[in-house]
């Protein structure tokens, strides 16, 4: 019974954001495994590699927009293609410092984005996200059984 979402991926080129977010998740006991990627390309490579190992795949993925090489938007384009091959549904949250309404509405229009979250992300917000994910996972389990 692995109902609780335990694996979180952070895709962000900002090392400090990676560190503060993973520390906050750890301190609050919100995640067991935290995967950190500096850009979209590395994250995509990982997802493709572990597509058939649901335990290795993240439950929640925090995706930055502005990154070198493959940015958040480009990640989403490629994710849409590989999504079907993944053995676990991943809830993707776009996490950015951009308050540009064009970014916000673009994120909301993307079917693979659960929500758009503005940085900095508070502990409360992280807890809320993980709670929502837990509810989603258990509802999926009920539907399956």
């Amino acid at each position: 019974m692995n109902q609780r979402p335990r694996t979180v991926a952070i895709v962000d080129d900002d090392k400090i954001f990676q560190l503060t977010t993973s520390r906050t998740l750890q301190i609050a006991g919100l995640a067991e495994n935290i995967l950190q990627f500096d850009n979209g390309e590395d994250a995509l490579k990982f997802l493709k590699e572990y597509a058939h190992q649901p335990d290795a795949l993240p439950d929640v993925l925090f995706l930055d927009i502005n990154m070198p090489m493959v940015d958040g938007w480009m990640f989403l384009e490629d994710y849409a293609v590989i999504k079907e091959s993944l053995t676990k549904p991943i809830s993707i949250y776009m996490v950015s410092s951009s308050i540009d309404p064009r970014d916000v509405s673009r994120a909301h229009r993307n079917e693979n984005i659960v929500d758009y979250i503005l940085k900095p992300v508070s502990r409360e917000k992280l807890a809320e996200i993980m709670q929502k994910q837990a509810e989603y996972v258990s509802s999926q389990h009920l539907a399956d059984s």
């Binding site: 900002d14 400090i16 954001f17 560190l19 070198p68 540009d100 940085k119 502990r123």
Partner: protein, 424 residues
């Protein structure tokens, strides 16, 4: 032909004016004159009178006309009105016997000759030449008419300088408005981009600072606290750095009128080479410059140095491992435009994938530790502020070519009016 006869008769009537008057008097005093003959004389008198009036009317109309009217026989002016004198600057005496083509600017004479030969009767625009040598816009309309037994050409000249000038002014205004619109659009785009940068690049470190402070407050361990404090410093520095860069960008945008100097590309090139000599030696790079086709440029020195430095260091930074960098700088002219082309054999960029990001701030395309992604953004701003353009061609694992067009001529810029067509 009827017209010809009428004119001929008119002349004759004019000459025999007095005797005719006497005759009519005689007629009046001779009641024995047959009624038929009397009738013919009266009719003749009436015709003569009508002709005189017609001649008078013609003269008046001709003189009153604002246009210049001339009558030409085989190209030679045989008669003209005051209007033609006013337009051309010659007196009537000077004009009579003058070749009408001399009133047309030399480069337009062939056209006019062709119109005369073909008997063209609609109006057309040419350039006239005034007695004082000054050229002016002219609308010409001519018609072949029979006159004293031969066919002459009656020509009307209309000075349309005013109209042409107005037309040109409208065209100029239109071009100016178009360019203002483009400039505003460009400014607006830049402003949006600027907001985006401020939004992202300032909020990121500030957000980090806030989160780090929370973690610091809650931390009990000294080593952890020290870690947070050092990261706080990094974030604060990043925020400050962004502020400095944004200030720099604003400074460039405001500074369109920055002083331009006469610069030799070769000088700037060797100065750049000197600045990067360390890395050039380290990579055994071959850096060459050929500026023979366009050796110099009027441009702000600091900007040109910045362009050379950024492009050369980018080519060096993104060279392929185990491939000695070969970088060539060359300049050439494309019409009035001066182009700088920088080619390298480096890693290249997949432009289909990353093309939209190339000139954005803090965009880097290589996992290089020194990538800060400022260079191309900054020089693009400098180049565009001075009316130029930068573009890129690249192939992954082959190399990159960057083109800087320093003084791009925009297609819809107003055409410079021929200065010789000034008003008399």
């Amino acid at each position: 032909m009827g017209q010809k006869k009428k004119i001929a008769t008119k002349k004759a009537a004019g000459v025999s004016k007095k005797p005719s008057a006497k005759k009519s008097h005689k007629i009046a005093t001779k009641p024995d004159t047959p009624p038929a003959k009397q009738g013919i004389s009266a009719a003749r008198k009436r015709i003569e009178q009508a002709l005189r009036e017609s001649e008078q009317r013609f003269r008046t109309l001709q003189q009153a006309s604002f246009g210049g009217i001339g009558m030409h026989d085989q190209g030679i002016i045989i008669d003209c009105n005051q209007g033609l004198c006013d337009i051309t600057g010659y007196t009537r005496n000077e004009l009579i016997g003058f070749d009408g083509l001399n009133l047309i600017a030399p480069e337009w004479r062939a056209l006019v000759r062709e119109k005369i030969l073909s008997g063209y009767e609609r109006s057309y625009d040419v350039v006239g030449i005034h007695r004082n040598g000054i050229k002016y816009f002219l609308e010409v309309q001519a018609k072949n008419v029979p006159y004293r037994g031969k066919v002459v050409r009656v020509t009307e000249f209309r000075d349309i300088s005013e109209r042409k000038l107005t037309e040109e002014k409208i065209k100029e205004q239109n071009a100016r408005l178009t360019s203002i619109t483009q400039e505003l659009k460009r400014k607006n785009d830049q402003l949006e981009e600027f907001t985006q940068i401020v939004s992202h690049n300032l909020r990121s470190p500030v957000g980090n600072i806030l989160t780090l402070l929370t973690l610091l407050e809650e931390s009990a361990e000294e080593t952890e606290k020290a870690e947070y404090i050092s990261l706080l410093k990094v974030s604060a520095f990043a925020a400050q750095q962004t502020l400095l860069e944004l200030h720099e960008v604003l400074r460039i945008k405001e500074n369109i009128e920055v002083e331009r100097q006469h610069l030799h590309f070769a000088d700037i090139f060797s100065r750049t080479e000197d600045m990067l000599s360390g890395i050039i030696t380290e990579l055994s790079a071959t850096v060459t410059g050929d500026f023979s086709l366009a050796p110099s440029l009027l441009y702000p020195g600091i900007y040109l140095e910045s362009i050379f430095l950024n492009l050369m260091s980018n080519s060096l930074k993104y060279s392929r491992s185990r491939v000695k960098p070969v970088i060539t700088f060359r300049t050439y002219k494309n019409n009035e435009e001066t182009i700088l082309e920088v080619a390298d054999n480096g890693q290249g960029i997949d432009l289909d994938r990353y093309g939209h990001q190339v000139f954005k701030l803090h965009k880097t395309f290589h996992k290089h530790p020194e990538s800060r992604g400022i260079g191309l953004f900054m020089i693009k701003n400098q180049i565009e502020t001075l009316g130029g353009e930068i573009s890129i061609e690249s192939e992954v694992n082959k190399g990159t070519k960057v083109f800087v067009n320093f003084n791009k001529r925009h297609v819809d810029e107003p055409e410079t009016a021929d200065s010789s067509h000034s008003r008399r």
